[in-house]
């Protein structure tokens, strides 16, 4: 027994000297990937599910158009509305000008249509016609991966 007690106990210690470096690395990763939400979406958009999905890799080319029932007070929803950037579009014919201006700034513009799955095609078609008039032809029907089929 004496043999065991004599053994000097080395204090187990993990060196914390590199801890700030590790944390900094993580910090920088999250700083780079963070996109601070600058727009508040005023319409409900529950995206449809699909299988044939492609990823939009270049996020900076993307401009969003939200379509869905307007969020009202007390968890109620109103008429289906179109929102671009931070404002609800009242007059549909404004869309062509908004989009044309965006296109002159960024010629590789992709318009991501974030449409609520319960919407009807009428409003989507109207917006698409406006997009064609504005010359923004690259669009993307934003959808989620279908998890039920996996």
């Amino acid at each position: 027994m004496a043999h065991f007690t004599k053994k000097s106990k080395a204090k187990p210690e993990i060196s914390t000297a590199s801890l700030p470096d590790i944390i900094f690395m993580l910090l920088i990763f999250f700083m780079v990937t963070t996109v601070l939400r600058e727009q508040e979406v005023q319409v409900r958009t529950i995206l449809p599910q699909a299988e044939a999905l492609t990823k939009i890799e270049q996020k900076r080319y993307v401009s969003y158009v939200w379509m869905g029932p307007e969020k009202l007070r007390g968890n109620r929803f109103g008429e289906t509305r179109v929102q671009i950037d931070d404002a609800v579009v009242e007059d549909m014919t404004n869309i062509r000008l908004i989009m044309y201006r965006k296109l002159t700034v960024e010629p590789r513009l992709i318009v991501s249509l974030r449409v609520d799955e319960e919407s009807e095609m009428g409003i989507v078609t109207d917006v698409q016609q406006e997009l064609r008039k504005g010359g923004t032809l690259r669009i993307n029907y934003s959808s989620k991966r279908d998890i039920s089929n996996l």
């Binding site: 699909a50 044939a52 990823k55 799955e117």
Partner: protein, 187 residues
Amino acid sequence: MGMLKKKQRREAEIPTSSMADIAFLLLIFFLVTTTIDVDTGIGMTLPPELDEEIDPPPVKERNLLKILINEQGQVLLEDLPSSVAQIRGEVRTHVTNNDVDQRYSETPRKAVVSIKTDRQTPYNMYIQTMDEVWMAYFEIWDTEARSLGFLNYQEYRSSLEDSKENEIRSKWPAQISLAEPDPGGGE
């Protein structure tokens, strides 16, 4: 002068022990605010606006696969009532027909899939239809990529250099046409 020399130089030091805490705090802030959502969706290119004076190029009836979705979300495939699940197979047969069957396309390059909807068609049905059509093309491209010795189309595409043409896609172009909305259909 001697007095100056004697003066001990204190080394300037910034305490670094709190560095980790500061970094942690920032880290937590960015962790909380970050939303890593990859934007996924079905990509499309809209046709350019129609010129009133120039008629769109005519497409032979047999090269056109017409999909119609009505306001109840029912599918009419080449004037036959069908289901969404049938679309994929039908598109594949249509595109890969290569002049075998008189009812389907002449060549893959000429094959066009046309989707027409009503104003009241549920958007969800439209996306499902679009999904099936794209899946049909993805399957065709996958088959083609496999015959070229790749695992799938994805692998073929990532093997392409930027300058090189995507041969699979130019051989089997996905030509999806969105039918012009009826002029009287607006509000």
